[in-house]
């Protein structure tokens, strides 16, 4: 089982590319690494039988919060955004934000050294991280382009951009 948890930015790229009429079609995304894209397409090809693509409710809230800024340039209409939540693909899960998952926050550093500077880990980023930790660190990849998440020690070698 190999799950891929997405941060808000990469979730938006997936929604943008996803075509509900062809649920298991390979995605083609330019803005992420070939390695991450391959892993995402592997999950889709296996129809979620060997792992899921996952996001936190906070990722969807962040997209709503900046809908015009993030979604409009990607041609994500409100109808498409809503449809993705109403009827997500078989290979996609929204991981609940619950008290059991919050316990993992103690494993996420409050700040990291990024480009030589001590930088706080924003709570929204920490919530993406605990979504990954809740799935089991050995079996999860976190897809994120966030420079802070990428240098978190707890996610060492588990983040792909």
């Amino acid at each position: 089982m190999n799950d891929i948890v997405l941060d808000t930015h990469i979730l938006s790229l997936i929604i943008s590319q996803y075509n509900s009429a062809n649920e298991f079609a390979e995605l083609s995304i330019n803005n992420i690494s070939q390695d991450l894209l391959k892993k995402i397409n592997d999950v889709i090809k296996l129809k979620g039988t060997h792992g899921f693509i996952i996001a936190s409710p906070i990722a969807f809230i962040e997209l709503a919060n900046q809908f015009n800024k993030i979604c409009h340039p990607l041609n994500i209409t409100l109808e498409k955004f809503k449809a993705f939540i109403v009827q997500p693909p078989t290979w996609f899960l929204i991981e609940p934000l619950n008290i059991d998952n919050l316990e993992f926050l103690s494993q996420v550093d409050i700040e990291v050294v990024k480009n030589g500077t001590l930088t706080p880990v924003e709570i929204n980023d920490a919530l993406h991280v605990i979504t990954a930790l809740a799935r089991g660190i050995e079996n999860v990849i976190l897809g994120s382009k966030d420079g802070t998440i990428n240098v978190l020690p707890i996610m060492q070698d588990r983040v792909l951009s």
Partner: protein
């Protein structure tokens, strides 16, 4: 039994100092709070470099099992029901609001009959934050 909205400060007092509002202590009411409030309280402890994540989560679970409080969590079903609610969407979409504030609204709004608490909880919460 009545329901009573438990604000962020009240939840923190309950979880860290065992200060239980009278109506709840007397078993006249059950307190309802949002997962967003617990996140903010945990984050406050982390930022003050006194991480109480485990203690706060354990205390919350204990008070939940005692029947003192119910923590409204957030899942895909509730997200679907309430993120696109006219009032919530119009209030928060494209506003760059704090996502935890939006999570608070989504988790507490009585979307349908599967939510067992009354509309009054949501209104009590709004009266604090609006």
């Amino acid at each position: 039994m009545d329901e009573l909205y438990i604000s962020n400060n009240e939840l923190e007092n309950l979880l860290t100092r065992d200060q239980i509002p009278d109506k709840i202590a007397q078993k006249m009411s059950v307190g309802i709070s949002s997962i967003a409030d617990l996140i903010e309280i945990i984050e406050g402890s982390r930022k003050s470099r006194n991480d109480k994540t485990a203690q706060l989560c354990n205390s919350c679970k204990q008070h939940s099992s005692n029947g003192d409080i119910y923590l409204a969590e957030l899942d895909g079903s509730l997200l679907l029901k309430n993120l696109f609610d006219d009032e919530i969407w119009d209030k928060f979409a494209n506003t760059k609001s704090n996502p935890l504030m939006i999570a608070r609204y989504i988790s507490l709004k009585k979307a349908d009959e599967t939510i067992w608490w009354s509309d009054a909880i949501y209104e009590q919460m709004k009266s604090i934050y609006e």
